[in-house]
Symmetry: C2
Subunit: 259 residues, 2 copies
């Protein structure tokens, strides 16, 4: 008798953006393995579970991932309901493939419970739709691969994908804002393209800054140490106008770039 | 005294993929305007609300949208808690911009409650992560613009965005599968690129077909009348191997294309 491992998306940060299905699974869980970015109130829903923090990774990422895989397999041989809780959605930048493969190779049943990804939390925070009739019919979610701090003008797949879409959302760009902006501008994206950075999307301590690609590094420098994503595209053009519900916006306009 | 209009994502289809926040708002709502694709069990959570179906659109889409905008504004002048319930996420292919603009111009406060978008429901159904280390670091969500039934090889922004990303998810492609495949192949995408079509993602009546771009029209022809999306990319390469939990897969391989 082997248990089931549920790969569960915890959503973008706010605990009440968890799904009903995830909440019920957490209540039933006998053990929960959770990442660093999951809100404590979400973990607290697992009232009957052993709660295991696997977010503090030691050694290389590959070593840490193998260790997590092994712990999930071991748990499935001991418990019927094993929850693997990940920030956002498991299937978007969640390394789900590696865990699914390891579990299935060990004969363990895996079920996926989707979660709201950070881009949609950020979009709601900004009050800006990622698609818009006549403006944007494509949105790319991408992580940059930056080899050094300068612009990378070689044919960067990540950058070409970001440039080809009407709206781009760049995940896990913390600390790389300067290189991201330099690369995109070097590949032809205008420096006055509207951008936003959102830290701690959907949480009460979310921080949002809106400006243009040319001053993205300065915008990013205003963030704290939380997870952050970058949104880029014409859908942001009127963001300062429609951000009535947003507290922390500093609109940084073209004039500041030119000044 | 004007009420607040909440633009709420109902998620991809399964009623228990609603968020806790959305469920609580529905319980508090005095009126709910819902789209055609929202599950009846989700609407039923609005126990105290007038429930208004605005999914059956008459006349042109623009006329219908203006009518919805007007009803939302009128409701905000009568009720404190107005919920506008949309399938998926409001900010991805949900025409949120038009409703936000109309409400804000009328002085009505708008809040956005994100939902799980169809792509993530489909990804979970398929058991296939949209990103994968070494395979995919970019995912584009796009709607096609097809002018006729043949391939559109002019510089189609939607197609270029789909081609530039490692993984593409094509929304609202119902009935356009032949033109989508022809356009992408004409622009250079190999006919043996793995694709999947998922109808009624996340629901118990979901239908999934996996194959290659060259026989996408045949795969799509096997679907019923529900909402459907297309997934394309190398992340699907091993989908037939890892789809232990999927009942309805018909793996259509290269050989069938060649045969």
């Amino acid at each position: 008798m082997t248990g089931t491992v549920y790969l569960v998306g915890a959503g973008p940060g706010a605990p009440d953006l968890l799904t009903l299905r995830a909440a019920r699974l957490l209540e039933r869980a006998e053990v929960v393995f959770y990442d660093a970015l999951v809100h404590p109130d979400t973990i607290a829903l697992a009232v009957n579970a052993h709660r295991v923090d696997v977010g503090k990774r030691s050694g290389s990422r590959a070593t840490a991932q193998r260790f997590i895989n092994k712990r999930l397999i071991d748990a499935a041989h001991k418990y019927a309901v094993v929850v693997r809780l990940k920030g956002g959605d498991p299937m978007l930048f969640g390394r789900a493939r590696e865990e699914i493969d390891a579990l299935q190779q060990a004969g363990v049943t895996v079920e996926i419970v989707p979660g709201i990804t950070a881009a949609l939390g950020a979009s709601a925070d900004l009050g800006v739709s990622l698609t818009e009739r006549g403006i944007s019919r494509s949105v790319t979610f991408v992580t940059p691969r930056i080899s050094n701090e300068s612009a990378d003008t070689r044919a960067s797949n990540w950058a070409l994908a970001a440039l080809a879409a009407d709206t781009a959302v760049i995940y896990m760009a913390r600390g790389q804002a300067a290189a991201v902006a330099a690369t995109l501008i070097a590949l032809g994206k205008p420096a006055h393209t509207p951008v936003a950075v959102v830290e701690n999307a959907s949480r009460t301590d979310a921080v949002k800054r809106i400006g243009v690609l040319g001053n993205l590094p300065a915008l990013a420098a205003q963030l704290g140490g939380g997870p952050a994503i970058i949104v880029m595209g014409e859908v942001l053009r009127n963001a300062t106008k429609t951000s009535g519900a947003i507290d922390a916006i500093v609109a940084t306009t073209l004039s500041s770039l030119q000044g």
